[in-house]
């Protein structure tokens, strides 16, 4: 088991490396990029940048310095703001984004699995068709259409919930709509996936064995089919994380939530190169980390992997 974990961790390193290197190279080498002289905003910022990046040194030294700073959690100064560093901005936004993202992920897993399993058990009946239609809706109506529509219906027209903002961070009402908007596409994908994997699992020969033992349907499902059915869903959680992060950019924008996504969009619009790069690397790390957790979880759930 431990060897599997180590193998996965080692396997994740190249990905992380590629993300950082690509970002670094883009920042340094793109014509018209931030270090092309004559484009830099104010003298103070320029001084900050020169100080932080040692632009007078050769490229490879700059690269190693960059790696070293990153390893210490230092993402460098912001390109447009002289008051905050990138690290400070990320630290401010991250708790909010994390709460939003994790809640949406949890909701998506619970509701998605429930819907998918329900559809599979009522295969080709009305309930199943409803599940299929629902999962299609989440896939064809993207976040950036769904989020405003939800605001319009529940925030503006019915006025059941706040149409935007994050409250003081402890008010549930502010979180409901954003979490739902963020979770919907993942609910659909998970429902779709778990429905088909449940149907497939129910046709495995060992399910017949379980029935032959006299186990009631409930036990056959919970103990025997669910294990096989959950694996494709688990491996989907990696891509789902990437999807949630992408979606959170939209949702934070639509609901004016002070998370990383908002800073990211503002930075991209204002061409705050260092902040955009920092956030990309940060997001990259989160995705790599989640993929790692998912891989390990998969190894735990499937005894054929890892153990002899």
């Amino acid at each position: 088991m431990l060897s599997v974990v180590i193998k996965r961790v080692v396997g994740a390193i190249p990905t992380l490396f590629v993300i950082i290197t690509l970002t670094f190279l883009m920042m340094r080498l793109t014509p018209g990029g931030p270090f092309d002289t004559g484009r830099v905003a104010s003298p103070e910022v320029q001084a900050n940048l020169l100080h932080a990046y040692h632009l007078d040194e050769p490229l490879y030294l700059q690269y190693f310095r960059y790696l070293k700073d990153l390893a210490q959690g230092d993402f460098g100064p912001s390109f447009t703001s002289k008051d905050f560093t990138v690290t400070q901005l990320i630290r401010q936004g991250f708790p909010v984004s994390l709460q939003l993202g994790l809640s949406a992920m949890a909701l998506a897993i619970v509701v998605g699995l429930a819907l998918g399993t329900f559809g599979a058990l009522r295969r080709n009946q009305v309930a199943d068709h409803v599940v299929i239609a629902f999962s299609l809706v989440g896939i064809i109506i993207p976040n950036f259409v769904m989020a405003p529509i939800l605001t319009l219906i529940f925030g503006v027209t019915l006025q059941w919930l706040p149409a935007g903002g994050w409250g003081n961070g402890h008010q549930l009402a502010y979180k409901i709509l954003p979490v739902i908007a963020l979770a919907l596409p993942r609910i659909s994908s998970i429902a779709r996936l778990s429905r088909s994997s449940m149907i497939e699992a129910m046709q495995m020969p060992f399910i017949r064995t379980a029935y032959a033992k006299g186990l009631p349907r409930r036990l056959v499902l919970l103990r025997h089919a669910s294990r096989a059915a959950i694996l494709p869903v688990v491996s989907y959680l990696g891509p789902a994380t990437a999807g949630i992060i992408t979606g959170s950019i939209i949702v934070e924008q639509v609901f004016s939530i002070p998370g990383i996504g908002r800073y990211f969009v503002d930075a991209a619009i204002n061409r705050d190169y260092t902040l955009v790069s920092g956030v990309v690397i940060f997001y990259g790390c989160i995705i790599v980390l989640f993929n790692l957790i998912v891989d390990i979880l998969y190894g735990v759930l499937d005894p054929r992997i890892g153990r002899r």
Partner: protein, 278 residues
């Protein structure tokens, strides 16, 4: 042979045929947009700011917050979105087919390394790199489809590689090799021309992906810029303006959703038709 069979299966699949017909209709509307819509896309009607749909005056979808006709703008959005989808997928087609066919054909260690690179790129959050690119390179329409195309070729490369691996073992390739054909010639004359089936299927998957990415960027203001428009731009404007004028959100949103649905059905149907095993 297999092609006829595929056609017959496709024609018997109502969802897929429906999808293809809807796609045809959307392409038709997009191309003929300027001829069909009574108003120009940038004409400002000061007396009709955020006005609801009005059939008599020819404002079928109403107007936006700047008093411009939404019907004309939605059709223009369709042109841009489809253009982005098609160009990005053509770019990804070139990269993906070249990369995938090379990896599959050469095989062995080279194939391993090449596919490992694809795996790594696959796990990257590619939308962020598109954003990064638009930040560095600037936000023009051509940047957008080149960057989108440059990051969504991975699926194509995987599919093409798999197909190449099986093609490589077929008799006609063996025959060409025994006649002394070079690797390059075998690849370009015998392998790539036989890849069209899986390639068409993956095109149908890549186009909606590209359209979605473009809309995402444009919604955030990072994509297509005024005075150009696209569904993403319209949905973004509509979202800002939805309290007074919900139609400005709903019409472009509906077009996008219907297009994605049609691609979904057509893609699934085509896959079943060409590859009944999966």
């Amino acid at each position: 042979m297999a092609v006829d069979n595929g056609w017959r299966r496709l024609r018997r699949n109502p969802a897929a045929m429906g999808g293809l017909i809807v796609l045809g209709a959307i392409v038709f509307l997009a191309l003929l947009g300027p001829c069909i819509s009574p108003h120009a896309i940038d004409e400002v009607f000061w007396d009709r700011i955020s006005a609801p749909p009005d059939f008599d005056a020819g404002f079928f979808f109403g107007t936006d917050a700047n008093g411009r006709d939404l019907f004309a703008r939605t059709l223009e959005g369709a042109r841009v979105s489809l253009l982005v989808g098609v160009s990005a997928s053509v770019i990804s087609l070139f990269i993906g087919v070249t990369y995938g066919a090379t990896a599959g054909y050469l095989g062995g260690r080279i194939d391993n390394v090449m596919m490992r690179i694809v795996d790594i790129l696959y796990s990257l959050p590619f939308v962020f790199f598109v954003i990064l690119l638009t930040v560095y390179v600037g936000r023009s329409l051509s940047t957008i489809f080149v960057t989108i195309g440059a990051v969504i070729w991975l699926d194509m490369a995987r599919i093409v590689r798999g197909q190449t691996l099986t093609l490589k073992q077929r008799e006609f390739v063996e025959a060409a090799r025994s006649l002394g054909a070079t690797d390059f010639r075998i690849l370009t004359r015998h392998i790539i021309p036989n890849l069209w089936g899986p390639v068409i299927i993956s095109m149908l998957l890549v186009i909606p992906d590209a359209i979605l990415t473009e809309s995402f960027l444009s919604f955030l203001g990072l994509g297509v810029q005024e005075p150009n428009t696209s569904w993403g731009v319209l949905i973004g404007d509509g979202a800002q303006n939805m309290m007074g004028a919900p139609w400005s959100l709903l019409f472009p949103g509906a077009f996008l959703a219907v297009t994605l649905l049609a691609f979904n059905f057509a893609g699934d149907g085509l896959r079943d038709a060409l590859d009944p095993r999966s």
